[in-house]
């Protein structure tokens, strides 16, 4: 076993200081906790309100059965999972949350928040459906101010511009550190497996002291660089380099990443919410903080926007930067916006970038692993 294999093998999130549910439980004694679901959430506003933004559980099928007591079966698994976790009190982060901030990114979530609000206080931000008009900026800015006021009132704090600027700086540093980490996969051959990238992103996300999180990410970067510079190569130079785009990936849907890497490919880039999507653009530190936050978050290249040209631009850059050989578009069942966008993404990837593309529709069950394996192996074989 190589040094780096061993390093990642021993990198067990649950054993790290300041990570996960135990850390939140401790922090809860002195701070408020705000649950979030989506990367449209302006984290800086929450932390400037002296509260801790926490991503809520939403990526396992463990609670879907319970969620279906209230929600339709043919709904996106992410929404059902989120709701089921809340309903069954199985998500520790939800358990400790004083407030949940949601956004109207899709109809399913929008309506789900209404039910969620019966269990816990929910603040929903009304997201514009486009981001290319002056009005969109104004509307989203208004939503930022409404959230700011709500946080101030709820937690009895004042969010000053000064505090916001500090938090923007901190969050930008976290984004830059994470970018530096996953951009290591631009190397040929890549030093990291996709499963490891997800693992590290996860560790950073659930380490709530961000200076500790950044330090940890930095240590990992150094470790990876050291072994790479020592000539250690774990991944073949011939392994097809895959970019995964589409719906959020994690836990139950990591099956897709695992199948790619079992088939001899390597995932070098995640163009989705847990990956590049939220980190690529920084918040402008030189303009009024609310304006800067409005601009950054409104530009999120999500399929809920119409048109969603930002996603095409981002994909185009990433395909070049990561020297991608093939694109996998992962769509969660019943996610209409991403599913409809597959046609546009396929045309762009195959016609404009001249590389193969495949779209895979899946959910959180493991019942389709056999079929997925055939599709994914065949895709890797054709690269």
């Amino acid at each position: 076993m190589s040094n780096l294999d061993e390093f990642f093998e021993e990198l067990r999130p649950d054993e790290l200081d300041g990570y996960g549910p135990i850390a939140v439980k401790e922090l809860k004694k002195e701070k408020n906790v705000v649950g979030t679901y989506c990367i449209f959430t302006p984290y800086e506003l929450i932390s400037a309100a002296e509260a801790i933004p926490v991503t809520l559980c939403s990526t396992s099928d463990a609670t879907i059965k319970e969620a279906e007591q209230h929600l339709p079966r043919n709904l996106c698994p992410l929404i059902k999972s989120s709701y089921g976790y809340a309903l069954t009190d199985k998500c520790p982060y939800f358990h400790f949350a004083d407030l949940v901030v949601g956004e109207t990114t899709c109809d399913g979530k929008k309506k789900m928040y209404e039910y969620l609000g019966r269990m816990t206080p929910v603040h929903v931000m009304q997201l514009p459906q486009s981001n290319n008009r002056e009005e969109d900026f104004e509307n989203w800015k208004e939503e930022m101010i409404i959230l700011k006021n709500a946080l101030e009132e709820k937690f009895n704090v004042t969010i000053t511009d000064q505090r916001l600027k500090e938090e923007i700086k901190k969050k930008n540093l976290e984004r830059e550190t994470l970018k530096e980490f996953y951009q290591l996969s631009q190397l040929t051959p890549p030093p990291l497996y996709g499963t490891e990238i997800l693992q590290v992103l996860d560790i950073s996300k659930f380490t709530f002291d961000k200076s500790l999180a950044n330090q940890r990410t930095r240590n990992i970067i150094e470790e990876v660089k050291k072994s790479y510079n020592n000539g250690e190569r774990r991944i073949s130079e011939d392994a097809p380099r895959i970019l995964i785009t589409g719906c959020p990936i994690g836990q139950a849907t990591e099956k897709v990443v695992e199948l790619v890497e079992e088939s001899g490919g390597v995932v070098v880039c995640f163009e989705n919410c847990s990956g590049v999507k939220g980190n690529e653009e920084l918040v402008d530190e030189n303009i009024a903080p609310i304006d800067a936050l409005t601009e950054k978050y409104l530009n999120t290249p999500c399929s809920c926007m119409s048109p969603n040209d930002n996603r095409i631009d981002l994909l185009s850059e990433l395909i070049d930067e990561y020297q991608v050989d093939g694109v996998i578009d992962m769509v969660l069942q019943a996610c209409h916006t991403y599913n409809v966008e597959t046609f546009r993404i396929k045309s762009f990837v195959t016609d404009k970038k001249n590389i193969p593309y495949i779209s895979l529709e899946t959910d959180y069950s493991q019942s389709d692993v056999g079929q997925l394996k055939t599709r994914i192996s065949a895709f890797v074989e054709m690269l």
Partner: protein, 252 residues
């Protein structure tokens, strides 16, 4: 130098011995044990040709049972194999439709038989060989007599694509007085519709090669050709395309 390709499908296991040309082949039912079926097909092929395992340079397994084929030197998906096998059968072909036991796929290939794009049916058995087998059996008929059965009739429309629901639909159509023959042709129609949907998602150049078990049916071939308004070709070895492709890959 020999190469053996074994395609363990959900219904039938196919084996091909190849040395640049097809030397011999075998088709046996897969039954309940895919691994055993693969081993049996391999042993029988070797035995029939007076060969020992050491005479074979490479054994390549494909098909849904490939995961359990620990006797194989290499494992390749049926998509890649049908592309190679289809290309070997007719090197002018750029589009392949394979209707297998549990999976159907439309494959676009380049001039060397490499996969350019492909699309597969969704999770269930809609429009596959299993769909046909189950529904035809519910008519009390055998899938091998399909062409004869549907000779002089008009298709009865079948709306359900779920195998289980289609079976119920067949039963109620018969109860309403529809003829067995027209229902059978309706099932063929339904399968052709599914194949047409798959084919609409890959580029089609000129003629289409029909591979997999159902390619033995002239009726399915004709109905699909009529629907597409294109020439669908088959080969007497269409069913062997996967095993043949595996053997070709082994030799390469």
């Amino acid at each position: 130098m020999y190469s053996v390709g074994i395609d363990i499908g959900s219904v039938a296991t196919k084996g091909v011995i190849f040395d640049g040309e097809m030397v011999d082949y075998i088709v046996i039912p897969t039954g309940w044990n895919p691994k055993e079926a693969g081993v049996d097909a391999l042993n029988k092929l070797l035995e029939d040709n007076n060969l020992a395992k050491k005479d074979v340079n490479q054994i390549t397994a494909t098909g849904y049972g490939r995961v359990s084929a620990d006797f194989a030197d290499e494992v390749v998906t049926e998509i890649t194999c049908h592309a190679k096998g289809g290309h070997f059968l007719d090197n002018k072909v750029r589009t392949i439709i394979d209707i297998g036991g549990q999976d159907s796929k439309a494959i676009s290939v380049d001039e060397n038989g490499n996969v350019m794009d492909f699309i597969m049916n969704d999770k269930c058995a809609a429009g596959t060989g299993k769909f046909l087998e189950v529904t035809i059996n519910s008519l009390g008929e055998n899938i091998n007599d399909l062409d004869e059965l549907t000779k002089n009739t008009e298709p009865q429309e079948i709306n359900s694509m779920c195998t289980v629901f289609a079976e119920s639909e067949v039963v109620s159509l018969l109860a309403q007085g529809a003829s067995k023959e027209s229902v059978a042709l309706g099932i063929v129609d339904a399968i052709a519709n599914r194949a047409q949907v798959l084919l609409s998602k890959v580029p089609i150049n000129d003629q289409i090669l029909f591979t997999g078990g159902l390619a033995k049916s002239e009726r399915i071939k004709k109905v699909l050709s009529d629907k597409l308004g294109r020439k669908i070709i088959t080969s007497s070895n269409s069913q062997l395309a996967g095993a043949l492709g595996a053997a070709v890959i082994g030799l390469e």
